[in-house]
Structures are given as structure tokens and as C-alpha cells.
């Protein structure tokens, strides 16, 4: 197994890098989009609330693979050439943003409504109160579930293998089919995933226990 690892070190590491890059990019963008739709779900305007709700429910209830393959196949038909990595990251972003919207909305709801009312009574607009008063408090509650979302994101980034996204899973398959050492290759791939996911999920359990 050591030989397998050292002989294919550069492939494993490049796969690891692409997996990490895709997860971090998707996390960054889905945090922005997710928070936006979370706010949509709590604004006073009913039409906006419905839009937020539809976005969240639709993308939470459709498999990530369907979303990813859709972008991978449809964007080249009408818009522009797209590589697997980009299509995969777009798919991951949209899928994760729906889950993050739910998480952030729960966080916003856990902030006492008096905070918003007090801020409004001080003359702040809804958006100012959201930005300066409610969201900073909400994010404290939201950090452990967001960490778990990141763990899911890293695991989900394996769908990039479907669209030739050069991620860890893709590289693992390539190595497995070249060397015929299927079992050992998948064990190494698994260890690479665990290096990212296990520490984060243990740390989030620790944070959850501290907040509770």
C-alpha cells in the first residue's frame, strides 16, 4: 500500500487539492447565496418569502447528481464550453446553498425577535438591522451545523468524478484501473477524505457540546 501511495503520490495530491478547492469555493459561494435566501425566507414581503421557500425546497429535494449533470450537459449546449470541475462546483454550490439557507434561517429564528424590534425602533432599516444586529448573533448558533455542512460538502464533492472533475475520487478510479489494486487504492482515497472530514466533524461535536 505504501508503494501504491508513493508511486501515485502526485495524482493523489492533485486530486486532494481539487477536492479541497472545489469544496472551499462551493462553501464560499453557497454561504453567500444561502444566507441571501435565508433572509428572503424571513423578510416581511410575502412574495419574496415564497421565492426563498421555492428555491430552498426545490434544490433540497433534488439529487446533487441531477443538478450537477444538468449543468455539465446543458451549459455547453447553449452558453459556453464548461469543464467538469466548474460544472461540478456550480452544482455543489447550488445544492449546498439550499441546505445552508435552511441552517441560517433556523439561526435567524433562534435570535430573539426583540433584537430585530429594538434595532428597528432605533431607526435602522430592515436590512441594516439584519446586517448589524441579527445576522452576527445568528452566526454563532449556526457555526456547528455549518461545519457539518462543510463535511457533507467535501463528501459530496465526489460527484465531480461523474463529470471528470479531477477530484480525489476521479483520480482514485484512474489509479485503481491502472494498477488493478482496487482495494488499496480506495482505502488510500478514503484516508485522504478522512484527513479533512474527521477532524472537522469531531471539532463541531465539541463546539456543539460547548454551546449546549
Amino acid at each position: 500500500m505504501i508503494n501504491l501511495l508513493t508511486n501515485n503520490w502526485s495524482e493523489f495530491i492533485s486530486g486532494f487539492g481539487w477536492t479541497l478547492l472545489s469544496s472551499v469555493l462551493a462553501l464560499f459561494f453557497s454561504l453567500i447565496i444561502g444566507s441571501l435566501f435565508a433572509i428572503f425566507e424571513v423578510v416581511p414581503n410575502k412574495a419574496v418569502r415564497i421565492i426563498g421557500n421555492i428555491y430552498v425546497e426545490v434544490f433540497r429535494n433534488i439529487p446533487l447528481l441531477v443538478i450537477t449533470m444538468f449543468f455539465y450537459l446543458v451549459i455547453p449546449l447553449y452558453i459556453t464550453k464548461i469543464n467538469g470541475f466548474t460544472a461540478g462546483t456550480i452544482g455543489l454550490t447550488i445544492y449546498t446553498s439550499a441546505f445552508i439557507a435552511e441552517t441560517v434561517r433556523a439561526g435567524i429564528n433562534s435570535v430573539d425577535v426583540g433584537q430585530m424590534e429594538a434595532a428597528r425602533s432605533q431607526g435602522m432599516t430592515f436590512w441594516q438591522a439584519m446586517r448589524y444586529i441579527v445576522l452576527p448573533q445568528a452566526f454563532k448558533y449556526v457555526i456547528p451545523p455549518l461545519g457539518n455542512q462543510f463535511v457533507n460538502l467535501v463528501k459530496n464533492s465526489s460527484v465531480l468524478a461523474f463529470v471528470a472533475g479531477f477530484d480525489l475520487m476521479y483520480q482514485g478510479n484512474a489509479i485503481a484501473s491502472q494498477t488493478f489494486e482496487t482495494v488499496n487504492t480506495y482505502i488510500i482515497v478514503g484516508l485522504f477524505y478522512l484527513v479533512i472530514t474527521l477532524p472537522i466533524s469531531y471539532y463541531m461535536q465539541h463546539l456543539e457540546r460547548k454551546l449546549a
Partner: protein
Amino acid sequence: MQNWINAYSWINIRFLLQGLWITILISVISVILSFIIGSVLGIIRYSKIPYFSKIIGFIIDVIRNLPLLLIIFFVYFGLPAFGFKPDTIPAAILAMTVFESMMIAEIIRSGIMAVDIGQMEAARAMGMKMPQAMWHVVLPQAYKKMIPAMVSQFISLIKDTSLATIIVVPELMQHGQVVYGQDPNYIIPVFVAMAIMYFIVCYALSLLSKFIDRRMA
């Protein structure tokens, strides 16, 4: 131009529905198996048997933190090296069950922990043994508390069966690929149809969970 009318011919729709049926079949079998295995593992982890619970807990954490896709590959391409070569559908069920059991074990454990410790103590004080108290007093209350988490886990299980398309399990996603493989003008209609089918099943389940939750509360 996308050809919606031909894409939605009855033959294609029926083929997609057959895929949906396999998707549901795999999900239901896997969830029943994982519920049983997950309950046992969750109780073992909760009951803090020296060493044994720690080892089980570590295995749960490791498998939970791996991508399901990797487990599917491992079962389908890795197990034959040990002389066991499952067919595609059993391989998918096996992989899903291994992964979901660990997820459900964690849900069960936190469900048991959410039941007031006084319930267990009271039952023990009445002369019940630990397994009796668990079975008759703690578990019924715990299962009630974890219905929402369990249903959302089942929803992700249904969505995750789409990953099994990589080992050519004839489920919805794979049948979709077969249909749009005939003609690039079918791509958008087929994706819309697949999305609607997955959405209806998953959304109905999430409504059901909300409904049960409200009636229980």
C-alpha cells in the same frame, strides 16, 4: 431545439417511472435494513460498554465521514478481490445500508440521549433490567423524538441512490441517461422530468414528517 413532445412519449415516461420504482425499492430495502442495524449500533455506542462501544463509535465516525460514492465503488469493485461479487442492485443496497446504518446509529444515539435520564433511572428503580428499560421505556420515547431526523435521512437516502448509476443500477438517474442518450434534444426535458419525480417523492416525505411532527407535539 429541445424536443419536449417526443421526449415525453409514453415509452420514455414509462421507462423513467420504472427507474423511479427501482430507486424507491432500493431506498426502502436499505432504510429498513439500516434502521435495524443502526438501532443496534446506536444502542451499543450509547451504552458505553468498555472498549467495545469506543471501537463501534470509531467505526461509525469513520464510515459517516466517507463519501457514499467511495463506499459504492468499494463494494462493487473492491469486494470481488475478497471473492464476493455482488450484482449491481444488491451491491447498491449493501453500500447504502452500510452507510445509512452509521447515519441512523448517530440519530438513534442522540435520540436516546434526548430522553430524560430520569426515565431510565425510574425504570431501573422499578426493578427492570437495563435491556427491558431500554426496550419498554426509553426507546419508544426516543423513536418519537427522532422522526424528523429519520425522515430527512430517508430523503437523503432516496437522493443518494442516484449515485448508484455509476455501477449501472437501473434506477431513475440511469434510466434518464439512457433516454437522453438517444438524442441531445431530450436533455432538458428528461432532466426536468427526473427532477420532478425526485422532487415529488422527497417533498411528499418532508410534508409527511412535518405533519407527524405537528400531531405529536
